[in-house]
Structures are given as C-alpha cells and as structure tokens.
C-alpha cells in the first residue's frame, strides 16, 4: 500500500512532458517563415483560428516584412485572448521597432481588455438573467424572496453593472482597423479626388467611424481624422486569416 501511494505521489509530482513543436514551429525556428505561415494557415483552415495560431502567424508575417498582415493577426489574437503574450509582445515590438502607430487605449478599452468582449457579454447576459429571475420567481410564486435570493439578486445586479464598462470598451475596441495597403493617404473628403491630409503607413491601427461612398471615416493614432478607402483597411473582427489585399504583380 505504501508503495502504491509513493507511485501515485511520484506521478503527481512528475513534470508534464514538454509538448513537441509542430511543423510550423519547426519551420519558424529554422527561419523558413513562408513554410511556417503555410502550415499554420492550413491549421486555421482545418481547425479554426485560435489566439495562439493567429499570434504565431503574426510573428511569421512580421518576419517577412508584411506589417499589415502581422498586425491584423495580432489584433485578432488579442480579441480572442486579451492576455496572449505572443500577440502582446508582437504589437509592442511593432510599435517600438517597426514604427507602427496604434491609438492609445481608453480606460474603457483597458477595462474591457481584462476579459475580452465576448467574455464580458456572456457575463453581463448571465448576470442579467440571474437578477431578473431572482426578482420574478418570488413574485410568480407570490411569496416574499428569501434572504439568499435577495443576496443573489444584488450580486447579479452588481456584476451586471460592472460588466457595462467592459461592454462599452469592447464596443469601442471593435471599431478599430488595421491599414493594409503599403502607402495610404488620409483624405479630407470621401472622394477619389479628396485632398490628402497625411500619409499612413501599412500596419498602423486607426479608429473607424461611419462608412460612406466606399470610404470609411477614421481617426489616426495622433488624432487626425479623415477618410480611407474601405479596401485599404481591415477590421480585426469578422475574419479568420488576414484578407488578401496585396496588389498582384504585373507578369
């Protein structure tokens, strides 16, 4: 019996075996970034986009100098997992070494980043239903709510109220986009002949506003507002792999 307990204790105490690097990681480590991208993209197509895969794709895209695609991958990974270390490091790296500009987060976006937009919505919905049912059920039963029911309603209502800034921050965070074209001019008007206000580099993140005439009104990281063509930017929400916006080369 003692031996059995010792074996069990050994099994629990034994470190978990390190996961074998997949083919994409091996290619990435060997400097074959194109190969790594191909493998990870195949994984995304087959099994779906996860924060880890998108962040890894962002690293490989960055290594190939494709800033726009890399930033889309990282931003998308942070939407799925706001604490993803690879995507966070990638964006910091892009801002410090790559010259990428990204609007500073508002307090609500910072708050929302604690859990992520989807998590906040799930929490808010659950809290809402708990509070509502906690109020309704005693009335339907025509009885006074018990003490624990009252406490549950108060707790659920508090959680619901606390989740409102998170929902608002998630809403603000969703209205961002990454500039995908190499050289883009911020236009004063949403027309082809609109006067260029300032140039925006590939990979820069902008806040988006209303669309009009094939253009989207945006605000840059330094607060300049203008219009960009809708095809020049890509929103982190609403996609898996980065959209293929590269201009095909002439034969």
């Amino acid at each position: 019996m003692r031996t059995l307990w010792l074996m069990l204790a050994g099994l629990i105490a034994a470190p978990l075996p390190a996961a074998e690097p997949d083919a994409g990681q091996a290619a990435y480590a060997a400097g074959d970034f194109v190969g790594a991208i191909e493998r990870w993209q195949a994984q995304v197509v087959a099994e779906g986009a996860t924060a880890g895969r998108l962040a890894a794709l962002g690293n490989a895209e960055w290594k190939l100098g494709r800033k726009g695609r890399a930033m889309v991958c990282w931003e998308r990974a942070l939407l799925l997992d706001p604490r993803n270390a690879v995507a966070t490091a990638g964006i910091r790296h892009a801002q410090s070494a790559g010259g990428v500009e990204r609007p500073a987060l508002t307090w609500a976006e910072d708050y929302a980043g604690f859990l992520g937009a989807n998590a906040w919505l799930v929490i808010a919905t659950a809290a809402f239903w708990v509070a509502l049912l906690g109020l309704l059920i005693p009335r339907l039963r025509q009885r006074e709510p018990s003490e624990w029911q009252a406490k549950m309603v108060v707790a659920a209502a508090t959680i619901f109220l606390l989740s409102l800034p998170g929902l608002w921050g998630g809403h603000l965070h969703a209205r961002r986009a990454v500039v995908r074209q190499t050289e883009v001019s911020l236009r004063l008007t949403p027309t082809a002949r609109g006067e260029a206000i300032v140039g925006i580099a590939e990979g820069d993140v902008v806040r988006t506003d209303r669309p009009f005439n094939g253009y989207v009104r945006v605000t840059t990281a330094d607060g300049k507002s203008g219009w960009l063509q809708a095809r020049e930017i890509e929103s982190p929400w609403g996609g898996g792999l980065p959209a293929n916006l590269d201009t095909p080369k002439a034969p």
Binding site: G24, A51, A56, L115, G116, A117, Q142, A174, E183, G240
Partner: protein
Amino acid sequence: MTRCLRLLACFLALTCARAEDYVSWEMTPPVAGPGQPFKLQVRIESDVILGPADRVGRELKPPKGMALRFSGQLFRANTTEATLNFSGVAPEEEGAHVIPSFNIRFPAKLIKVPAMTVNVSAATGFRREGQARAELAMPVRTYYVGERIPGAILLKGSEQEMVNGSFGLECEAEGFTFQQVGARNEELPNGQGIQTGFELTPLRTGTSEVTINGIMLVNTGGLGGFTASGRDRPFTFRRMVTVEHVPETGRPAEWTGAIGRFLAESVSVSNPKPEVGEPIRLRAILAGEGNLDRILPPEIGSSETWDVIPSNDRRFRRAEDQRSFTYTLVPRLPGKQMTPAIRFAVFDPETRTFQRLEFAPQPVTVTGNAPSKVDLVSADPGAAAGTPAAKALIGLATPDPRARGLLDPGAQVVAPLARSHPFWTTNLTLLTLSATLFAAAAGSAYLLAHPEIRRRARARREVRAARRAAGTAVDDAGFAVACVRGLRAGCAPWIEATPEALTQGDIRRVLPAADAAALDRIFRRADGAKFGAPSDASLQAEKPALLALLAELEARL
C-alpha cells in the same frame, strides 16, 4: 584520290566564303527635301587589303534631276576597309530616286556597290530661300522649383543661308541656373541646321522673364562661316515663366525631390549569401528624365532583420540619365531574408501627379548563427562619436500555436458574440416569454384581490343581454321578464348579492331616482304570477324609460 577531292572541295568552299564583300551606305539626312544638299557615305569591308580607290566617279550615274559627285575617300594602309564620301543635291521631284549599282576599282579587286535609294519629301521643311533663323524649344507650362527643364536652341538654315555654328549662348534670368548640355553645335536630324541644348533649373517661386541670347554663324556664300561671305547674327528669346513649388496635395511622405519621369531600372545586392553581421551593398539604379542629381536618397529604416547604413552615394551619370543609390545592409538574423523595399515617389510636371516607384526586395540567404540577444543599432552618420544607439528592440515572443483564450473555441471567423443573431434572438425570446408570464401572473393576482371587477364585468354583460332581449321582446310579459333580469343583474354588484335574490326594494336602493310606479308595474308583471298577483297592465308607456334605466345601469357598471 577521294580524300584529295574532298580537301579540294573544302578549300574551294572556304575560298568562296571569304570572297564575299560587305558594302553599306548611309545618307544624311535620311529624307531630303526637294533640292536639298545631302551627303552619302559608302563603307566597304572586304577580305583583302583594299588600298585607295581609283576613278570612283566614272561609273556613277545619278538619276534624273539629282546632282551627285565623289567628294573624297578615307582609307588606312594595310586594312581591308574603305569609306567613300559623295555629295549631292536631291531632285526637285518627290519620291524614291534610285542610284544605280556601280563598280569601284581598288588596286586589289573590283567591288560592286549595290543600288541606293534617295527619298525626297517636301514634308522635311527644307527651305531653299529665306534667312537662317533660330528657334527656342522649351516646354510651355508651369515650372516647379528644383526641376530640370530641358531646352534647346534650334538654328535652321536654308539653301541661301546655311548655319555653321553658334557661340556666346547665355541666359539672363533671376532665380534660375543655366547650363549648356551636350555638344555645342550638334547637327539636326534632318540636316537643316544645328542645335545647342541647355538645362534650366528654377530656384524659387514666382513669375519672371527668362532671356536667352546667343550668336549664330551664317554662311551666305557656301564657303564656310569664317570666310568673307560668312557673318554672325545675334538672336534673343524672352519668355515669361511661372514657377511654383511642387504641390503639397497628394504629396507622398517618401517624396524626396524627384521631378520628372523615372523608372526603377534595377536593384542588386553585392552578395546574396552573406553571414550574420557581414555587410552587403544594396544598389538601386534609377533612370529617366528629370532632376536626377537633385534627388535625396530614399530612406530605409533599420529593422530587426537588417541594420541599414543610409545611402550617401550621389553618383550621377548624365550621359545615361541614371542615378544610383547604394545602401550598406548588415544582416542580423540567419535564414531566408528579403532586403528592405526602397520606395520612391516622383512628381511628373507634365501631368502634375505623383507616381510611386518601388525597388523590389531581393532575396538573400543569410548564414551563420543569430546573436543571443538582438539589439537594434541605428547607424547615424551624422551622430557624434559615442552617441548611444537607438532604444533597444523588445523583440517577438516565441510563438505558441497551441495557446487558447477563455472563450476561444477555434472558429473559422473571429466574430464578436454581440453580432450573433441567434444570441440576441434567444435572449429576446426568453425575455418576451418572461414578461408575458409575469404579466399574466400579476393580472391574475390582481383579479383575485379585486373580485368586484369580475362581478361588474359579468353584470355588465348580463345587463347588455337583458336590454337587447327587452328591446326585441314581442309582448309585454317577455319585456318585463328581460327588464327585471337586467335590473337584478345590474344592481347585484352594488350590494354584493346574488341577482336572483334581489327584490324591488333592493333595486330602488341602488337606483333611488328610478320611477317607483314603473318599477312596481314591471315587477308585478314579471313576478306577479309567483306571488298570486298577476298584472295585465300595458307597459308600452314605461318601455322607453325602463330601457333608458337599463342603459344607465350598464354605464354605471
């Protein structure tokens, strides 16, 4: 014997092959005007040493209307080449005029010159009469500060006045630099004069007058510009020009002063397989027409893959209209890398638009090992010695594709739950059901707490039915029964009693203003039989008043 015959055949074949002579000719100008002098040059390459030609013009028979004479020959001793020059005057008649084939006798052999065609056209603009004149060729448009404006003075002569040369070309214009380019007296392509090229470069904005002066040498006697019959003739051109800055509208960030029309000629690396830390040179060649010498080299920033030492190369080859930019790149990481793209913007003064050029990234295979820690080093030639390097690179984290978030199921599309229609539909449906259930329960509880509401509603329905029955009753008995039923049903809720238990007195308590006699008659008619006092009195007189009483009772409910 057979072998001897084969050798002989080979020898004869080689002899025949070597025996071919190559004769070419060139006419200046290629197309002559009617009566225009022209030059004809015949070049001969042979397999033997030719020596001087003899009696060249003897067999020369120009076509009708064309004057042609042998004007000299050029040959070198012990060479197999010879050049013969002819001078002529084109016929007056337009068209193609063929000079028949003729023979030229050299000491070594006789060489046949093939037939040559002289094309004559009046469209060349050749003037037989009139004075020599000067023309200014310069684009007429708005100029831009820093651009290279190519121009030329075209000196055109005639048969009477030929232009032999020019000198003293100068420009009087404030805010411009002026420079002659090319040969001073370059012959015009149509052979009708000479031209002198120049370049103007505006230095500041505004409207000013550009004056270009010069002197051309005119030969009126056909014996050369410095003979007694030659004379110099001055010319002056004045032109008002407007100079502006290159527009800021639409000016790309990478524009570094290029004005003109250029193309990315080529880009190359000095070593496609360097080691980590081994500098290589990236050379890009820009070609085209414009201010090549005034362009600042495009900037390339350092990255985690490359350290870039900015270009300070100002090599400019005017003759080839080329400009090269050379950068020194130091690879920092091993593997298959791409050199940075060199992006460039050009302003086209003709179309007034900016165009972008890009020297494509070049593939480079970097060997060796990466340093343990990668620090970004910015090489700034202008920085003082000992200046600290740029801020350190944070670096990318090691990718972990297995990592997942809290709500990260691995969907094909990363979409927010807030945009999910099923999510909102489900919640709204549940909310509607809850509200309905709650409303129903609350209503039921309220009715239970207030039973008079239901009693009044029921009484109202019964009064309405009784009033309708009374109105349609065919005899007084039916009218009386319906009225009494309605009065009892309508008064019952007010005294909280069963309708059937109410008496005439109860009705009068509820309706004190009602006509007591009429109530008495109708109750006796309806219930009199039960109590042994039936009444046959007519109720026609009270009918309207009783119906009105029922209507009032219904309204009170």
